[in-house]
């Protein structure tokens, strides 16, 4: 408003017109400020969620590393990993499966367990809903280690504050991966 007033005297606003000018400024500035505020909250929540997911992956990997090897019981290993990860996420208020893995885990979490015992190529066991985009190959991890990777839909971990501004979280996910040495019975 003021710039226009400077450059074009014909558009000079009368003293009574300042009310409209203030309203116009509000209309322009408030969405920018609201978006900035929402963006800061969104990023903060995303980083907090990433830390929680990493804690879940770490707890799951520790548990897996101390359990029997998957070559003997792959289903039980993946199930155990999912249970531990879900416990951490439920305690953090993310998972709604409070009494063990259920509908929420099936719909929103992908668990990838990769191991190398003496297998030169590695093996992989996958549980949960299939929305994984990519995972590093198991052959890249060191021998005698296990890697747990968790994928969780971003919309389940972070409030969707920016959807009103055209930013959608559909199809996006958070990922956390932990490499752990085998620490159980050989």
């Amino acid at each position: 408003m003021i710039l226009v007033e400077n450059h074009d005297k014909r558009l000079r606003i009368s003293p009574g017109g300042y009310r409209g000018a203030v309203a116009l400024e509000l209309v322009v500035v408030v969405p920018v400020l609201v978006f900035s505020l929402m963006f800061i909250v969104h990023v903060g929540e995303s980083l907090s969620a990433a830390v929680l997911l990493h804690q879940a992956a770490n707890a799951a990997a520790r548990s897996a590393a101390e359990s029997a090897r998957s070559s003997a019981n792959a289903t039980a290993l993946v199930s155990g990993v999912t249970t531990v990860a879900n416990t951490v996420l439920a305690a953090g208020g993310i998972s709604s499966d409070s009494s063990g893995p259920g509908a929420w885990c099936d719909a929103h979490m992908q668990v990838v367990v990769q191991e190398r015992v003496s297998n030169p190529t590695g093996s992989e066991d996958v549980g949960g809903y299939e929305f994984i985009l990519s995972a590093p190959p198991a052959s890249e991890i060191p021998v005698e280690t296990i890697r747990v990777t968790l994928f969780v839909r971003q919309s389940e971990m972070v409030p969707d504050l920016l959807s009103g501004f055209g930013f959608s979280m559909t199809g996006k996910y958070l990922q956390a991966s932990v490499l752990q040495p085998w620490n159980g019975s050989p």
């Binding site: 990023v43 907090s48 830390v51 490499l179 040495p181």
Partner: protein, 199 residues
């Protein structure tokens, strides 16, 4: 609008406010991103160093002690560090490989070529005898009984912030002890008070 300020002085006021507040908002956003990213990195690095120490202790603990076995134990710990990722990137950790390997020398007591620094953590994998009552890791004792074998891993990692472009240092240290009394026998993390080392 009635105020004590003449109307002519209001010219440009909105622009000044907008620019000022935008700078403030951008600074706040950068700070939020930087602090959050650094916390996430610290969390990831802590887990990596712990798991490396566990791997080293597990490798050294149950084996018949020898210089070759200690080298393998250190290699296992080093490989776990260099194969891990921080914020999806492996390059910073892979760059530690040379310094970590340099901490192994089979001619030195317990293969320890480098003594761990306490303040700014230098990059080393250190093996020694752990005293559970004092929480002291002694690298000068050899041979070390299986139940007292401790593996210390520590390093300082330099990361470049994707938000500000500034270099940030993240330090991490963890000590794991082989526990043959556990069922099944396994390595576990323990607290550390100090390290005894003769360079």
């Amino acid at each position: 609008m009635k105020s004590g300020v003449p109307k002519s002085t209001r010219k440009g006021a909105a622009l000044v406010w907008l620019v000022g507040s935008a700078a403030l908002v951008v600074s706040a956003m950068t700070m939020v991103l930087e602090v959050g990213w650094l916390n996430l990195c610290r969390s990831e690095v802590r887990v990596i160093v712990e798991n490396a120490a566990l791997a080293g202790a597990r490798s050294w603990g149950p084996a018949a002690d020898s210089a070759a076995v200690r080298t393998v134990a250190k290699q296992v710990a080093i490989q776990l560090v260099t194969s891990s990722t921080v914020e999806g990137s492996n390059s910073e950790l892979a760059a530690l490989e040379g310094a970590l390997n340099a901490s192994n020398d089979e001619d030195e007591t317990n293969n320890n070529a480098v003594c761990p620094a306490a303040t700014v953590l230098n990059t080393t994998v250190f093996l020694g005898e752990f005293d559970a009552s004092t929480c002291v890791l002694d690298g000068t004792v050899t041979p070390v009984a299986a139940a007292d074998r401790g593996c210390l891993v520590q390093f300082t990692l330099t990361l470049v912030s994707p938000f500000t472009g500034l270099s940030r240092s993240v330090q991490a240290r963890a000590l794991a002890l082989w526990d043959p009394a556990a069922s099944p026998a396994r390595s576990r993390l323990v607290s550390l008070t100090s390290v005894t080392c003769v360079p």
